[in-house]
Symmetry: C2
Subunit: 256 residues, 2 copies
């Protein structure tokens, strides 16, 4: 059965999408069957993986309303072993449309249950909010990886995020755990980054992945070519950082 | 009567808060009466302006439920002429609580109408989404300033944002205009930044402010001291960029 991992943080621009897209690619090239799910109406994970926008096929939005659509909505990608369940702008409507729906928190869980046996990892990219789309993702996931940008504002939102994860664990999904936190956009020359790193190490201890993602412009360029960093510039530090992180995730899986 | 300006972009981490906080400070030191409103449950604009978190007083959340609370919720700041209407985590609840409420889109507009005569500018920081909180802000505002990070993903979400602004103008707030877009976190040494700058110039023409906000670590450090850049490091490029942008806003006001 697939390990289902959510990439969540309501602070915007911290590297959720970049981490989900690149980790998915790294795990796939390590011969694992991977599904990347885009739960953000911005659909950045979809375009960052090379998908054309709005191609008329069902996307994750339709799957929340009717879980049986999921197989039709899944696309292959340029990487062997990596599929994607894309998002679209239509997803913005789901927040309001599902408010009064039965079992509204479990719609994604139901949809993914249809295909979980086909994958070893299912990675889910969240939007920058603690709304129903993120709650749906936390209910579908076994674990959460929290990308933390090495900036001050990114620290401020952590307690709110951890509270929300705890609430979901208590009332909706008892098996949900925080797998770990990963520091992103790190530049060791900046005091600000080192200050944040120290705070994160003090607060999370060994739940902070030792692989730190450094600031690297190639990670910002790759999405404009619709490619994960592995296909855009395999030799870049960005690639190496995500390959190292993928190895830590694989090692963890062996232990559980 | 106050000019009411929203800082909106559903893409996360593009510099909405940094622009709202620093522009508010620059306008206040130019002898204008300014109110900064924080409509993001993350409350970054509140802490970036030096406010202690959760001090037991009403915040913008209470004002959406009962517009008469607004005077009690407003605080002075360290800068003469600059007041703040802070946010708190409680604001997360407003999204769901207001869904069925009467006049739900106009709650902020009603609250600000109580105090608009006391200010020349009211600047409103939005969360990274196109949800009810952002719609409330667009209904209360006369104009929108769109911060755009010099990155690829930041370009992708623009059409969705412009569509939403157009929808609000057609059905809820006919006077709403896009005052302009401002490029943030710009590093002229990077091709990616220059590519994005060219796209934004081609797309927006003279609605792009000529003041570009360059990447400058001092802008990231200032919030950890609870200070706008003007108080933290007045001589830094970050300060100069926001002073220049404030001057463009003031010049615009004279023309309208
Ligand atoms: N390590 C890195 N080095 C350089 N740029 C990066 C890095 N990680 C991410 N970026 C860039 O920073 C921006 C923010 O990252 P990303 O979009 O992945 O964050 P996010 O948390 O998914 O944002 P949102 O909250 O909008 O969903 C993007 O333009 C991305 O290309
Ligand atoms: N010009 C700049 N140079 C360097 N750092 C910057 C600059 N502008 C903003 N930052 C930093 O980048 C991060 C993102 O900026 P900010 O929080 O203002 O964006 P936002 O759009 O308000 O994010 P959110 O979508 O979460 O509300 C912050 O940590 C901020 O301190
Ligand atoms: Mg994202
Ligand atoms: Mg913000």
């Amino acid at each position: 059965m697939a390990e289902i991992i959510a990439f969540a943080n309501q602070k915007g621009g911290v590297g959720k999408t970049t981490t989900a897209v690149n980790l998915a690619a790294c795990l796939a090239v390590s011969e694992r069957r991977v599904l990347l799910v885009d739960m953000d109406p911005q659909a950045n994970a979809s375009s960052g993986s090379g998908l054309e926008r709005e191609d008329g096929r069902p996307c994750v939005y339709e799957c929340l309303l009717d879980p049986s659509q999921v197989r039709e909505a899944i696309h292959p990608t340029q990487i062997e072993g990596l599929d994607i369940l894309p998002s679209s702008m239509r997803l913005v409507g789901a927040e309001v449309e599902l408010v009064a729906a039965l079992g509204r928190e479990y719609r994604l869980k139901k949809a993914l249950a249809q295909v979980a046996a086909d994958y070893e990892y299912i990675l889910i990219d969240c939007p920058p909010s603690l709304s129903l789309l993120t709650v749906n993702t936390l209910c579908a996931a076994d674990g959460v990886i929290i990308p933390i940008q090495a900036e001050y504002y990114a620290l401020e939102g952590l307690s709110q995020l951890l509270n929300t994860i705890e609430l979901v664990r208590e009332s909706l999904n008892p098996q949900l755990v925080v797998r770990g936190v990963v520091l992103t956009m790190y530049d060791s020359r900046l005091n600000l980054c080192n200050m944040v790193r120290k705070e994160v190490e003090d607060h999370f201890g060994d739940r902070m992945y030792s692989s730190i993602i450094r600031r690297n412009v190639k990670l910002g360029e790759a999405p404009s070519h619709g490619k994960p960093i592995l296909l855009y510039d395999a030799g870049s530090p960005g690639s190496q950082n995500y390959i190292a992180l993928a190895q830590e995730i694989l090692d963890e899986s062996v232990q559980t």
